[in-house]
């Protein structure tokens, strides 16, 4: 089965719904969109399982750009790493498409919605499968575009439109770094082909390698919403909730993590960059988790939670625990998508209300949604045997072993502390949303089947997904990736027993703290700390007022003072001077012959005098 089809199906769905969706019955639109991704999932399953595919499978397509010495051949690359990813993208993607059929049933713009969503899946698959960094970058930018289009899906609302624009612009700032890194890589290694980059990585001088990887990492901080470029993701919650689940939790935002894994031959050789990646990851994990504590919007809690969890993945990438990072990426895709779909189900039932102060008491009417949310929450908090426990625990274990008592130990501690905060905030969110007393007068109704069975499937994955990397299950996924990354497992230096017990203990402690602090939906005033957290550690005013405000002011000054007064002023000044000079010279033209004769005489005398005295 040609691998290209995996991208072609969603592309076809995009065109079909985009061009003809308006003529199809509303329900058909969703079915077409879901089927397109469903087919992709089947192809992905088929492609991954074929035994001869143990080796990387390269599907060359065509020569995209050739100018001078610079050649980019576009093609697809299926190996262990991209196999994991295409299953997540098409699998979770399919479930969320199905969920959307019910969620968007009332929206007249459903064809536009499904066409964007299909385009997103196609772009994400291109990002994952591209065998050249430049092809990956095409996917990278296209998923960003889809994110922009879907955040601003309800564009009549100014907040949604602004959020979309913010996402695009912040990502562009990261992409500027990505572009520079890619150019530096192309100039030093002479290729952007991912296979060849691996071969030549060893021959790149260390300073150049550090610069390349740091620049590429700037791109990753934009796409994966890490410090300092995280600000767009909370705002991105303006988009439809299934979009938040698919794009802003499960798939697109993990692209930065994936990119580092994809280019591991470069990153694993750049020690300084690895430290930076790990530090940024750990810092972001803790930072975002604390902000999640004070959010009232349920989706924003989940958004900060996503930023925080992505931080764990970067921590893993930085401490050379890439298999653990990819494992956490996978389980996170399951449980965070589940949490978002549950939140969407709440919104669906509550006619769009998402402020937790106006929720409460939903456990009884939305029993299924509540259980789904709780399963997701337990997985997020890291309670065994839910999937999130295994992957987070593995990251922390590897960070601890890697630290070996050194400075990385601080990052490990940040990770453990984050784990505690995570359990608190998700407990708070669960209580505020589902526990009595209710703060509303709506009679909520449970979601239709098209919405609940994708949630059920994700719930199963959130419970059982840990088997992919659990010690007792033989760690099928982690083992495979271990080989892929060329890493030797820390099997011998097994983690001490207290370490294995620490993370679940911390999670349970956090849940207990959260339960006692917020039981009965108590609203706690954190005072100054609360303000500090609500202002995102004062980063929000810094970005909004200081940076964005001043940038705009510079533009205004350039456009008015510099452009109109100085530059154009000089141009018009020259013109005016010419006119004035003409006007004054005109006075010489008196029209009297005697004046001209006198002038001729004076000139003649001067000339003769000059000749004589020369």
């Amino acid at each position: 089965m040609p691998l290209v089809l995996i991208i072609a199906f969603p592309l076809l769905g995009w065109l079909l719904n985009g061009l003809l969706g308006g003529y199809l019955p509303r329900r058909m639109v969703g079915v077409v969109g879901s089927a397109a991704v469903g087919f992709s999932f089947l192809i992905a399953l088929n492609a991954v399982q074929q035994p001869e595919r143990a080796e990387p499978w390269v599907v060359p397509l065509y020569t995209w750009i050739a100018a001078g010495d610079f050649v980019v051949r576009a093609g697809l690359l299926l190996d262990r790493l991209s196999s994991t990813m295409i299953l997540v993208v098409t699998g979770v993607g399919f479930l969320i498409h199905v969920y959307s059929i019910g969620y968007m049933a009332e929206d007249p713009a459903a064809p536009r919605y499904f066409s964007y969503l299909n385009l997103f899946v196609a772009s994400m698959l291109l990002l994952v499968l591209g065998d050249s960094l430049l092809v990956l970058f095409v996917g990278w930018e296209l998923v960003g575009l889809c994110s922009y289009l879907l955040i601003g899906f309800w564009f009549e609302r100014d907040r949604a439109a602004s959020a979309g624009r913010k996402a695009f612009v912040v990502n562009r700032i990261g992409d500027a770094g990505f572009l520079l890194g890619m150019i530096l890589l192309a100039v030093t290694a002479g290729t952007l082909d991912i296979g060849r980059i691996g071969e030549r990585a060893a021959s790149i001088a260390p300073p150049a390698l550090t610069a390349i990887t740091l620049l590429l990492f700037i791109g990753a901080t934009g796409k994966s919403a890490q410090l300092p470029l995280y600000t767009w993701l909370p705002d991105a919650m303006e988009g439809p909730t299934p979009v938040s689940a698919l794009i802003h939790a499960a798939t697109m935002v993990t692209a930065g993590v994936y990119m580092i894994a994809r280019l591991h031959p470069l990153f694993m050789r750049a020690e300084l960059t690895q430290m930076v990646v790990a530090a940024v990851g750990a810092a972001t994990a803790f930072f975002a988790a604390t902000i999640a504590l004070v959010q009232w919007d349920l989706k924003r809690v989940l958004a900060y939670s996503t930023i925080s969890q992505l931080g764990y993945m970067f921590l893993a990438m930085g401490v050379a625990a890439m298999p653990a990072g990819m494992f956490h990426l996978t389980t996170h895709a399951f449980f965070k998508a589940l949490l978002f779909l549950a939140a969407g189900s709440v919104m669906h039932a509550m006619h769009g209300a998402i402020d937790m102060r106006r929720l409460g008491g939903l456990g009884r009417p939305l029993r299924f949604t509540m259980w789904s949310f709780l399963i997701g929450a337990l997985a997020l908090a890291g309670v065994p045997p839910f999937a999130g426990f295994f992957s987070k625990d593995l990251i922390l274990e590897q960070a601890f072993l890697r630290a070996d008592g050194g400075a990385v130990l601080l990052l490990w501690m940040a990770g453990v502390l984050t784990s505690l905060v995570t359990a608190v905030y998700i407990t708070r969110a669960a209580i505020m949303t589902f526990a009595p007393p209710s703060a509303h007068h709506v009679a909520p109704h449970e979601a239709p089947p098209s919405m609940w069975w994708p949630m059920a499937a994700l719930a199963v994955l959130s419970i059982g997904g840990g088997a992919l990397g659990a010690q007792s299950a033989g760690r099928p996924m982690v083992q495979g990736l271990q080989e892929f990354f060329g890493l030797t497992a820390h099997e011998g230096a097994a983690a001490p027993l207290w370490l294995a017990l620490l993370t679940p203990a911390v999670a349970l402690l956090g849940i207990a703290v959260g339960y006692f602090a917020y039981r009965g939906r108590r609203q706690i005033n954190l005072g100054r700390v609360g303000t500090f957290l609500e202002l995102e550690w004062y980063l929000e005013p810094l970005y909004d007022r200081v940076i964005a405000g001043n940038a705009k002011r510079v533009g205004r000054v350039l456009a008015t003072t510099v452009e109109l007064r100085v530059i154009d002023g000089a141009v018009n000044g020259i013109g005016l001077a010419a006119v004035r000079a003409g006007a004054s010279l005109r006075r010489l033209q008196t029209g009297y012959v005697r004046n001209y004769a006198a002038a001729i005489l004076a000139g003649t005398v001067l000339l003769i005098g000059w000749w004589l005295l020369r």
Partner: protein
Amino acid sequence: MTFPYLSALLFLPLCGAVVVALLGRRRSDAIRWTGLAASLAALGVAAVVFLRFASGTAGMQFEERAVWVPAAGISYHVGVDGISLPLVLLTAVIMPLALLSSWTSVTERVKEFTVSMLVLQTALLGTFLSLDLVLFYVFWDAVLVPMYFIIGLWGGSRRAYAAFKFILYTMAGSALMLVAIISLYLQSGPAGARSFDLLALRDVVVPMPLQAWLFGAFALAFAIKVPVWPLHTWLPDAHTEAPTAGSVVLAAVLLKMGTYGFLRFLLPLFPEATRQFAPLFAILAVIGILYGGAVSWAQSDMKRLVAMSSVSHLGFVTLGAFALTVEALQGSLLQMVNHGISTGGLFLLVGVLYDRTHSRLMADYGGVAALMPRFAVVATIIMLSSMALPGTNGFVGEFLILLGAFRVAPIYVVFAVGGVILSAVYLLWMYQRVMHGPVVVAARPRVVEITSRELLIFVPLILLIFGIGLYPAPLLQRSEASVRALLERVEARR
């Protein structure tokens, strides 16, 4: 003797102009159709030239030569190579679209308008095809006349000021170029053996101080036309006041006369001076990229915003031209075409809105996407092309320029990527203000979905955006040999 393709291409629009001139003034429709037919015929010939063009050949193709003024060594000498070919095709593509865009918006003096547009096309094609400096200069200045009328007669409220500024500013530049052309002629050999022929002049070694002066004279004319910062202030006025078709042709084609001049004349005629002054141009280009982007952001008039964005985009083209590497030059050439498509497209978009509401101010719009969903899709695609999203044409050109320039001086590129960010900032800002948000009620009844004629204008642009973005080889392959030969020439005299 082979068929004179280039002469046919060159004079088809002019013949069309003559036919239009003979038509009765009242027969507006006949005039419009004749104009369109003439420009489409030219497009047909240009397409044949493009398809029959031999890739991998550096030299001139389809050459035609006829002695014009033997005593002064002036001849009618035209030809096309990999450097002029993309621009010839661009001109041929843009003209019919510009004429279509003015189908209903120009209702007064249709005849004069159509004649001006067709004469303009011949002059533009002549500029790109001439291989004789006098012939080139004739076409170069001939462009100004119809453009002056197009701005001055069919333009907006400040059209007289804008047209006057446009013609004075550009004439000031080209006057010195004429002096330089004559001086170059005098350097070309002993009396009696002198020539204005470009191909011959390329082999004349002009001694250094003089070469720098001549370089400066040519460079000034071209830099004003591009325009290179800070010689750009004629541009926002001219673009803003011109009617839609005028803005489209100005942005898409006229500005390329300058950047084409860099490649066709400065580099091969004055290689030493080029190498010497290249850093200066690169710095001005980078300033233009950032400055144009920042100033665009602060505009409230859509046309002015698009016009200022050209300063930024042409900065990339200039940077590519003076980076003097194969990738950068290829990118620069490709980006000339891309800018024509994307910025031409942006002006057409503004024109569609202006036809409905007669306002260019963003504040007068809001929520247009809800009223014109098809238009919103078209606008999105063209905006993405302008901000060089991968997959569209703009990305290939911009990336090649940045890559090629990086090989020479990374520092320029570090700053130039700021322009990549800014283009997203100002374009999305405009898009949101006009297309998104609540619908502005005042404009509502007049804001109706784009017509099939309007859609027809955008279809070729959209096809080109994705065609070039996904498969730029047809253009890159045709220009590669000429670009390599050009660079060898610049490097040879070291």
